[in-house]
């Protein structure tokens, strides 16, 4: 899966995590998950669980709040899949 495909799937997860269609339009790799995208800790938990389900990966010793930007998440998933 290339970076663009990962990003597309992650944006889909973000839309449902935030329950907000517009969140994907506002999102760039530099977007801060909490302040820019307005994700709460529960939204972040949803995101992590949905990523694990969608990509069939398991996050290792990562706390739900250890990502700052959307790009950090893309990087992490890309690394896990490679």
């Amino acid at each position: 899966m290339n970076r663009q495909q990962i990003t597309d799937r992650l944006l889909d997860i973000l839309r449902s995590a935030a329950d907000d269609e517009s969140v994907a339009d506002r999102c760039t790799e530099d977007s801060l998950l909490q302040t820019d995208l307005g994700l709460s800790s529960v939204n972040m938990l949803y995101t992590v669980i949905a990523i694990e389900e969608t990509f069939g990966i398991i996050f290792d010793d990562v706390t739900v709040l250890s990502f700052r930007t959307f790009g950090d998440v893309v990087d992490y998933v890309e690394r896990k899949l490679s």
Partner: protein, 502 residues
């Protein structure tokens, strides 16, 4: 008018045989001694792949009691785990008072709590050793005990009177500053037993622990009722693993805050399967307002979601919805041994489940009561069938959908630290999509930035983001706005607080 209920009101909602088994005990110790012979070989706790029976739990507690002594105030700073359960049981059945500290507390706050709450010794989880830094420096004589330690000797349980202190629970409380609510053995047992009323399939269940034990909902409704009913408690170590744990353990009862129940429902929809497992019968939901939507949607998955209402100061449970007669807008029927009264719309409480005081805070304690009644700060009404409804909050304290209590003043104090911040306001806001978030607005002091290089607003936002990142997760804001103008002020020049969620 004073409202009271009798336990008999719950008989028709409970299995008759089980109703007869719901016994009241004067103390946690008395309960523990009564249930041990009954449930000795049953699994009490399953954690990290290891099953611990009730008798093993008592054995391990007996080898921990000599380390903590008796008549002491024992701080417990542990992540959810078997060790935390063992330390808690050892303390409260060993003549000690357990002071359960939230594991995410930063080192300075751990020290502050130990001092304010009069902790005599601190049981710690080695994984949280960094959080002891301030205690080690500023209170080097405070004994520190690893939760993994065990004595070669055993100490038996120590009887307790109903009025003896049992636990001190951390709470945002009524006026915003963090406090420790002291609950007696009687209060803890009230909360524990009340968790048995109103549904069928009470004893011998399988519970999953997702909530922190430092929250009354986790400690009392989840752990204590699970032990009391001879149920097995599976400890979920990380919330993100909740659904994998559920697939393995197949719980029959879940105790959840609304935000988690909401998340489980939307994930189940997204992935087209019941992620909570086919064995789950009940979700006990509370600690924040429960959306009627959840109560209506869950039965479609064969799960009853029973909403309730409670406070730290009331040993968790004030009221709960019985199964089969559901009023989605209500928080249920008040449990026995309490009195409820509504004054100017505000709910006042009195009863065996109420706290004794805020420890070390006489002024706060006095301010919380009128004529012996605890004023909840919640606006309420009771209908003709005796169901309670919470209609709003009159306090400043913010309760987010995940059940966390946030004191705006406490968080604002941190954001006010930089010289270029004149004032700030932390408040609950609703996004366009209806999500409740914590938001921050600041009024900058631009002169403090005179001569600084770069865009002043960018400097401010970046500094505030850093402060935000240093806060405990539940206090972090999701939106930061730098205002061009001051806040609206009251005649006495105080900030006029936003009221966006009432």
């Amino acid at each position: 008018m004073i409202y009271t209920t009798d336990r008999e009101i719950f008989r028709k909602y409970t299995d008759p045989e089980e109703f007869g088994k719901i016994k009241e005990y004067g103390s946690v110790t008395e309960m523990w001694e009564a249930i041990l012979p009954q449930y000795a070989d049953r699994v009490a706790v399953e954690d990290e792949g290891v099953k611990h029976t009730f008798s093993e739990l008592e054995n391990d507690a007996a080898r921990f009691r000599p380390l903590i002594g008796t008549g002491r105030r024992v701080g417990i700073l542990c992540r959810n785990g078997y060790g935390a359960v063992k330390a808690y049981i050892a303390a409260v059945t060993g003549g000690c008072t357990a002071v359960i500290l939230p594991p995410q507390l930063p080192a300075d706050a751990v020290f502050g709590c130990c001092m304010k709450l009069g902790v005599n010794e601190l049981v710690y989880d080695p994984a949280l050793a960094d959080s002891l830094a301030t205690v080690k420096k500023a209170a080097p004589s405070l004994p520190l005990i690893s939760v993994d330690d065990a004595s070669p000797d055993r100490s038996p349980v120590v009887p307790a009177a109903p009025s003896d202190p049992c636990v001190i629970m951390f709470t945002g409380g009524t006026t915003g500053r963090s406090k420790g609510a002291l609950l007696s053995h009687r209060a803890v047992m009230e909360g524990t037993v009340n968790g048995c009323y109103g549904y069928k399939g009470v004893f011998g269940q399988r519970y999953l622990l997702v909530l922190p034990l430092s929250h009354v909902f986790g400690l009392i409704r989840n752990l204590m009722t699970s032990l009391y009913t001879g149920s097995a408690l599976f400890i979920c170590r990380n919330n993100k693993d909740m659904f994998r744990d559920i697939a393995v353990f197949r719980p029959t009862v879940l105790v959840l805050v609304p935000a988690l129940a909401d998340m489980a429902l939307s994930l189940s929809r997204k992935f087209g399967r019941n992620m909570l497992g086919d064995d789950l019968k009940y979700i006990i939901c509370g600690a924040a307002a429960v959306s009627p939507y959840l109560i209506q949607e869950y039965p479609k998955m064969g799960i009853s979601l029973l909403a309730g209402y409670g406070l730290t100061e009331s040993a968790n449970l004030v009221s709960g919805n019985p199964e089969s007669q559901r009023k989605p807008e209500s928080v249920g029927i008040p449990y026995p041994h309490q009195q409820l009264r509504i004054e100017d719309g505000e709910l006042w409480l009195r009863g065996d489940n109420m706290m004794d005081c805020y420890v070390g805070d006489e002024a706060e304690t006095a301010a919380a009561y009128t004529d012996g009644w605890f004023r909840t700060g919640d606006l309420a009404r009771i209908d003709e069938d005796g169901f309670l409804y919470i209609t709003g909050r009159i306090k400043e304290i913010i309760v987010l959908p995940n059940g966390e209590n946030v004191s705006p003043a406490e968080v604002e104090a941190r954001f006010n630290e930089p010289a270029f911040i004149r004032d700030s306001q932390v408040f609950e806001d609703v996004t366009e999509s209806g999500a409740h978030i914590l938001a921050l607005e600041v009024v900058p002091r631009m002169e403090a930035l005179a001569g600084a290089e770069g865009d002043p607003k960018e400097i401010i936002v970046s500094a505030l983001n850093k402060i935000n990142d240093s806060l405990p997760p539940y206090q972090r804001v999701s939106r930061i706005v730098v205002r061009d103008s001051d806040f609206e002020r009251t005649p006495s020049m105080k900030i006029k607080r936003y009221n966006k969620c009432k």
